[in-house]
Symmetry: D2
Subunit: 122 residues, 4 copies
């Protein structure tokens, strides 16, 4: 899928191809490809985002900002962030989406949509 | 945060530092840092994952597999995948989590947890 | 499905049968039953919860507490809460789950799990 | 909050006031009110919806339809549906939203938006 024009996509903001390959191999070795339909992967991604919410749900803002300071919480947070990324990269891979091109495209749109600054969102 | 031992983290499966910098700059220029608390970013990430679900919710498995084939759907899918990645990278950045180290750590755990193959999850 | 013993389930904490009927009729009249598989409904429910997150994501705690005070925000919040409930009730209906019995069962478990009070969750 | 005109809201499609009271009491007895801000409850609701996704993510459509048939899966599904409802009702309560009025209002809008039938959503 090409979501950005070729000249722009020469820039590399995010590089995930080695992870894509590792996940494809891991899945194939376990005969998991049949489970990895786009809809199933969206649900699995959602499940991991749910776990991320569960870590933070009762924390105060201050506790959440310091979540990386306690080794136990930091490891837990790192695991959930990794899980979200693993499923996101796997999903993009299965859909044939070039994540870097998609990101460049979205950032260009955001720069137009939010020129200087009121409101908030990327 | 260190979630992997240093010798392992020499391997680079995913590289997001340039995107982290671009997002930090984008946020600072718009005075958005005050909005980007970990809890707010988890909620924003959740919102984008919700939009991803909305794209696929009524599709058949076959339609979902072919979502990258129609330019319009492909662009929509690419945008939502990008949005999820943008918030995930921004969240990791704010929390001080090294995504590549977290991914290596999680893959190592998964390799032990799922040695050859029944069940499914990364 | 029986998740509570009959004597307990005589108590009615939540009554959704009229809504179930209204949704079943609405779906049948539009020939939507073929879309309403459990997996699709879980994804649709997730999409609505994502929209709920989007309403609150950049609000301060104080702004969130006052969300019901502005008529425009209140109407938006009411719509998303309703959407979540509609899909939840429809999903339960399709799965044959008695929501009131499930709630009674869960409350009984919670009363045992959280006898007086450290930590937080229902 | 009034989201429906009074004459319409005489109809009762969903009745949750007893559950609201039970949850308010449960929360007060455990000193949990300080945790139950709208944003925290949205995150907790999201966490439970994530768990619902995890139950169904690798199931085929057929397996998902039969999820209520196996007592073990049925109990698990019932628990997660109940958890979603508990947080939804608690959130509505904290926000001062009348769920039944919100549902009537949304159904009226849906009836206009989807007169007879193409596409799918409530």
């Amino acid at each position: 899928m090409h979501v950005a024009d070729p000249s722009v996509s020469l820039e590399v903001l995010v590089e995930t191809s080695k992870l894509e390959e590792a996940l494809a191999r891991f899945s194939k070795e376990r005969d998991w490809d049949r489970f990895h339909s786009p809809k199933n992967l969206v649900m699995a991604l959602t499940g991991e985002v749910g776990e991320l919410n569960e870590i933070f749900q009762w924390m105060t803002d201050q506790e959440a900002r310091e979540a990386g300071w306690s080794p136990v919480t930091a490891e837990h947070v790192g695991e959930e962030l990794a899980d979200v990324l693993l499923y996101l990269v796997r999903l993009s891979s299965v859909l044939g989406v070039d994540l870097n091109a998609a990101v460049l495209d979205k950032l260009a749109k955001n720069a137009i949509k939010y020129p200087a600054g009121k409101g908030c969102a990327f």
